[in-house]
Symmetry: C2
Subunit: 163 residues, 2 copies
């Protein structure tokens, strides 16, 4: 199959300069951050402000690649990369659901003020989608190894990162 | 910023050969489909079977590109592309949450039998993530224009597709 090429639409600013100590999921993060978009996208955000949550799709720019089996932060088991959310995936695509706090239009950029960031500072952003509870919320989903895990909380270390 | 390049990990088989008449979201679809992965990913799916739902991240291979303002299927308003889920985005990345029914290991491939497909047949797949209710479910999210829409159900037409 052909390669697929994307151009980042912006970057995500967060307090996290390194993976070590970072929250492992946005649901476990209270950290504030910003999405910085080019001013060219002013029309593209029309209607976004009414949404409380956004889905950010981004590139794990500091991930090691291509692992098939990993031990995630929340398990002592070795698991397949498609059964976990670790960054060192065949394609280094991440998603996080963050809370949208405000939108500030600056002179040369647009800033989306967000909360619940769990990614490295300067992460290249590929897409923003509105979180739609009717499509995206499955509160009774069964979650395999996660539902029976022994490790209940964790922060990241550098096991999945380029050194 | 640098371009980012991904290689599809597989394809999604669905009953939909054209956009017209397709369900517009997996939550509105009862259609059965399959993810076809290369046998090389056998280790990468270890632990996946315990999950009831998967997040599929894929390339909208038949989308027109680069719209900033669109009229989505569920609104008469013109809205920004980042405030809707239409495919003709700056980066043509789609996500769908589908139900995982079964995993069948064939001689030369792996088939994930899924339900609730809302994408075209032969869609290139970029990533599979387990749906984690603790991270991904926000049942009380506010959804802006969607919460007050007048159009309650719709199927797709070809407004966002290459002809």
């Amino acid at each position: 199959m052909n390669k697929i090429e994307y151009n980042p639409i912006g970057i995500i600013r967060t307090p996290f300069k390194e993976t070590k100590g970072m929250p492992i999921q946005s649901a476990f993060s209270k950290a504030a951050g910003k999405v910085i978009l080019s001013k060219e996208f002013l029309n593209a955000i029309k209607g976004l402000k009414g949404f409380s949550h956004l889905i950010l799709i981004y590139h794990f720019h500091n991930a090691k690649k291509q692992a098939q089996i990993v031990k995630p932060f929340l398990s002592e088991q070795e698991l397949g990369i498609f059964a976990v959310r670790a960054p060192n995936r065949p394609n280094s695509i991440g998603i996080s659901i963050v809370r949208l706090i405000d939108i500030i239009v600056q002179k040369n950029s647009i800033e989306l003020i967000i909360n619940g960031v769990d990614m490295l500072d300067q992460t290249p952003l590929l897409d923003i989608k509105p979180y739609m509870k009717d499509y995206d919320s499955v509160p009774d989903a069964k979650c395999g190894w996660y539902d029976v895990r022994e490790i209940k909380t964790a922060v990241a270390d550098d096991r999945f990162s380029k050194v």
